[in-house]
């Protein structure tokens, strides 16, 4: 697994457009229930997943992201629409005949089998010989830094270790696409951040297409090549983390990814001379220092500091604009300390941001 790594990843970067997409969804729809109690979980979703990329399906719970993943895996049958894997229509193919593997939210390790047997399961089912099986499983376990754990039962492992066994069990089959259903959700914060880095590195190494489901926007931003933002069964926006964050196309995306800092229509007209909904990210706004000049590409707005929230590395100011509405400003605490920030409450202030950081939503 490690040997083929770098070449595959490089190739994936080189000519992505030349290959068929790893996964293509067309008009994918899933309706649960029947009669009077129908729920449309996934509503006419179109999506192309590039071969070798790390794509994240991001959305709140109940937005349909997990259902899409389960349909790609084959656990759920779509109500309508098609799923293609590397060009081949698999819409009606059962999960055991699809060349994808899944890492489950609860890991779903077989409790009656050892770690080694868990990792070998997929190979054994496919009739791979014992020696080959053993070698590949050991290699996969080494790949997730679990060499020597083969003889243990899943119950004897920590959450993070189980997580890595689940990864090894899926990757050992060398699937075309790896599906990950909120795999880091059950881990505590420190471990989760470690695993984010590790997972991303692993993906680069093996060069397999990863489709990752999460409701954690930070996780999505840090790990993904591209993000598809889900809301109410539909995709609101697909793009790189920077695109989704800096140029959210809908009000929902602006609010769900990062903190929404929406200008009221009135304030937008007064300050920007524009109609419609406009927004600026909180960290893009600064409190103007005394005597600081305002450049031509910058925008300023007068207001009163309403609330000050000290949060360790940064401080959040909630500023009531004279033009109406309220903006959140986040400042790194380069010099400020908790006692200082208290004095700011009720002060008049001037906010400053670059024009290129304004964006229209919806």
């Amino acid at each position: 697994m490690t040997s083929q790594s770098s070449t595959t990843a490089a190739a994936a970067d080189g000519d992505r457009s030349a290959r068929p997409p790893a996964v293509t969804l067309r008009g994918l729809t899933k309706v649960f229930g029947s009669g009077g109690t129908e729920v449309v979980a996934v509503d006419n979703v179109d999506l192309e997943v590039v071969d070798g990329e790390f794509l994240t399906l991001l959305g709140p719970s109940g937005s349909g992201k997990t259902t899409v993943l389960r349909m790609i895996a084959g656990f759920e049958i779509s109500t309508s629409g098609t799923i293609r894997l590397g060009g081949a229509d698999v819409t009606r193919i059962p999960p055991f005949d699809r060349d994808v593997n899944t890492v489950f939210q609860d890991y779903a390790l077989f409790p009656h089998l050892t770690v080694q047997q868990n990792v070998e399961y997929g190979l054994r089912v496919k009739g791979v010989g014992k020696a080959d099986r053993r070698a590949r499983a050991s290699e996969a376990l080494a790949g997730v830094r679990l060499d020597g754990y083969g003889a243990r039962k899943p119950t004897e492992l920590s959450g993070g270790q189980r997580q890595r066994v689940a990864l090894a069990r899926a990757l050992v089959n060398r699937p075309k696409v790896l599906l990950l259903d909120e795999p880091l959700g059950a881990l505590d914060l420190k471990l989760r951040e470690e695993m984010q880095v590790e997972l991303k590195a692993l993906q680069r190494q093996v060069g397999i297409t990863f489709i990752f489901v999460t409701h954690d926007q930070e996780e999505a931003l840090t790990m993904s090549d591209r993000i598809a933002v889900f809301n109410k069964g539909r995709i609101e926006q697909v793009g790189s983390p920077a695109e989704v964050y800096e140029r959210p196309q809908t009000q929902f995306v602006a609010g769900f990814v990062g903190t929404s800092n929406l200008l009221t229509p009135q304030a937008a007209r007064t300050l920007l001379g524009q109609d419609g909904h406009w927004a600026v990210r909180p960290e893009k706004i600064r409190l103007l220092a005394e005597g600081e000049p305002i450049g031509p590409q910058q925008r300023s707005a007068a207001g009163t500091i309403g609330e000050v929230v000290y949060a360790g590395p940064s401080t959040r100011f909630l500023v009531d604009l004279d033009a109406g509405g309220r903006l959140t400003v986040v400042q790194q605490n380069l010099r400020l300390s908790s006692t200082d920030v208290e004095h700011y409450r009720g002060n008049r202030t001037l906010l400053l941001w670059d024009r290129e950081h304004e964006f229209r939503v919806g």
Partner: protein, 304 residues
């Protein structure tokens, strides 16, 4: 902005100490007192009633009977044991009883496993409670009523089964061993379904998904994932069906025709020769002890 903090109100004084409060406090502190008051009634019940009964049965097996008065003679003898073990008829009865219990158990697994799987994994979550209730419902009906219902089912001439298969040129099961197996399997089926259902319910659905995701077809998933995980629950069910069948004699009386299970032999002898009946009564106990010793290693006893 200077406001003086108000003093917190005085703490409410402790309630006056009464004898009742002191007792509660003592019981709360003393673990031994709590255990004592909790366990005394059941321990007394077990010691006085349950074990006494079993031990008097065991003891009686080593007594004999005065041939003139039919009174039990309380002197130690192994003659009953020797008699039972040297008489092939009792070996045959034992074999027959074990065979019936085993057949009932196999039939219950064959019917109960798919039923429990449907209830736990395929049926909608809302209808599961209803299905469990339906499985339990027959347990509320009188045992005798159910056995007599089966008598009319298997009766050779005008039984429901006979009437059902007559158009195909087959006769019904009639009274005998098959009728006993059918009836007992019907009676004990809930005791098989419920532990398996509970075991499957505990098994996360994601394990089934994971298995098929890794390339296993349904039958393979059943063999490699479902069976190993549900096996202890199945064994727990077999302990019920096997032991209940081993001890039964009324069903054999009503639908068994001339077939005699161990229980029937006990029933026929207890009035005339209680020590002999007690000796026969030991056989199912020995068989069950052997069976329990065999299944203890599967972890099934933790599933009861």
């Amino acid at each position: 902005m200077t406001t003086t903090l108000e003093r917190p109100p005085e703490r409410t004084p402790l309630p006056p100490t009464t004898a009742r409060r002191r007792l509660s406090a003592f019981v709360f502190r003393s673990r031994r007192t709590r255990l004592f008051s909790l366990l005394t009634p059941p321990v007394l019940w077990l010691a006085l009633i349950y074990f006494t009964a079993v031990f008097s049965l065991l003891a009686t097996a080593f007594f004999s009977v005065d041939s003139f008065t039919n009174a039990v003679v309380r002197t130690f003898t192994t003659s009953n044991i020797v008699q039972v073990f040297s008489e092939p008829a009792y070996w045959r009865a034992t074999g027959l009883t074990v065979g019936i219990a085993a057949s009932v158990t196999v039939l219950c697994i064959a019917l109960g496993l798919p039923m429990a799987f449907f209830m736990a994994k395929l049926a909608r979550r809302r209808s599961r409670g209803l299905l469990v209730a339906l499985v339990i419902t027959p347990l509320w009906a009188s045992y005798l009523v159910k056995v007599y219902a089966w008598q009319s089912m298997v009766a050779p001439e005008n039984g429901v089964l006979a009437w059902f298969v007559r158009p195909f040129g087959i006769s019904g099961p009639g009274f005998g061993t098959p009728a006993i197996v059918l009836t007992l399997a019907y009676l004990w089926l809930p005791y098989m379904i419920l532990p398996i259902y509970a075991g499957l319910e505990r098994m996360p659905d994601s394990l089934l998904d994971a298995s098929s995701d890794l390339g296993a077809r349904p039958w393979r998933t059943f063999r490699s994932v479902v069976m190993p995980l549900v096996y202890p629950s199945v064994v727990a069910g077999t302990i019920f069906t096997f032991s209940l069948s081993m001890g039964d004699y009324i069903t054999a009386q009503i639908v068994g025709g001339k077939v005699q299970m161990l229980g029937n032999i006990v029933y026929q002898n207890y009035a005339a020769n209680l020590p002999f009946a007690a000796t026969i009564g030991l056989i199912p106990i020995i068989v069950m002890l052997i069976y329990l010793a065999l299944v203890r290693r599967t972890g099934a006893l933790e599933n009861l």
